[in-house]
Amino acid sequence: MLLIYQVPREPSTPRIAIWRRLRRLGVASLADGLVALPEDARTREQLEWVADEVEAAGGSSILWRAQTLSVSDERRVAGRMAVARAEEYERIIGAAQAALAGEISDQARHLRRLRRELREVRRRDFFPPKERQGAQAAVEALADSAHAYADAKAAR
């Protein structure tokens, strides 16, 4: 699906809210005011609501069901989405490793946050990069450590 949209520059609040919503959905940004997302029941509904939000903000939008003429172009768009998710997974891996090396009593707190972030990224991950498993493993390693600490504390 493609969403072509235009929102007035000012006021900036609705424009930013719309962009944040699109980012959370994991869209590929193809150009200014042009984003793409693979179609399923959920993404379609979510993009429709964004399209409505654009209209409510005094802008205009059109939702398209689109197909690239060449397979390589389609792969390029999917590849860009995978790279964007890979960067997010990398950040999670870095944060999980930092928490693992840091103060052990803070690990449970970091774990809660990273689990939530991982869930959010997975939700918008349509073309899973290899970093996905790495992020999963890094968060699990943190969970093991945090639970071992909690068990040791309870046994004292």
Partner: protein
């Protein structure tokens, strides 16, 4: 009245149907169509693009229904937080129940037609309502 919504019922539509029947229109009947252009004049559309009872600003349809009907009941707003997080996932509310309920609804919609999803989820929302009512009265989580 007849209330029309989009086919492929998920949490916002299931919760809204329950809300409509319990708190807004006890005689409500529901039907499910492809899009807003398939709604006839005698029905009230909900959870569709460009209708009054849809998403508005940060609100999902359930929240819009509460606002437009001046339903200030805190128990309903607690359920609204769950529906909002399950539907929009924007972290606006702390509603850890959302993730579980979301999966239950997605799974149900894979094995049941829309009418059945509505019928099956109605006692689920009755139960959530009772639970959060007791929780609010007790000031703690009920057993």
């Amino acid at each position: 009245m007849r209330w029309t919504t989009r086919a492929g019922v998920h949490i916002d539509r299931a919760a809204s149907a329950w809300l409509i029947r319990k708190f807004i229109d006890p005689d409500a009947e529901f039907d499910f169509v492809e899009g807003p252009e398939n709604v006839d004049d005698t029905a009230i559309p909900f959870d569709m693009r460009g209708v009054e009872f849809g998403h508005h600003g940060d609100d999902c349809t359930f929240e819009t229904l509460l606002r437009r009907h001046d339903l200030m009941n805190p128990v309903l707003w607690r359920i609204a937080a769950i529906v909002h997080e399950a539907d929009l996932e924007d972290g606006r509310y702390d509603a850890p129940e959302a993730a579980g309920l979301d999966v239950v609804l997605r799974g149900l919609s894979m094995v049941c037609p829309d009418e059945v999803v509505i019928e099956l989820t109605s006692p689920v929302f009755d139960g959530l309502y009772e639970y959060f009512k007791r929780s609010l009265l007790l000031g703690t989580e009920p057993a």
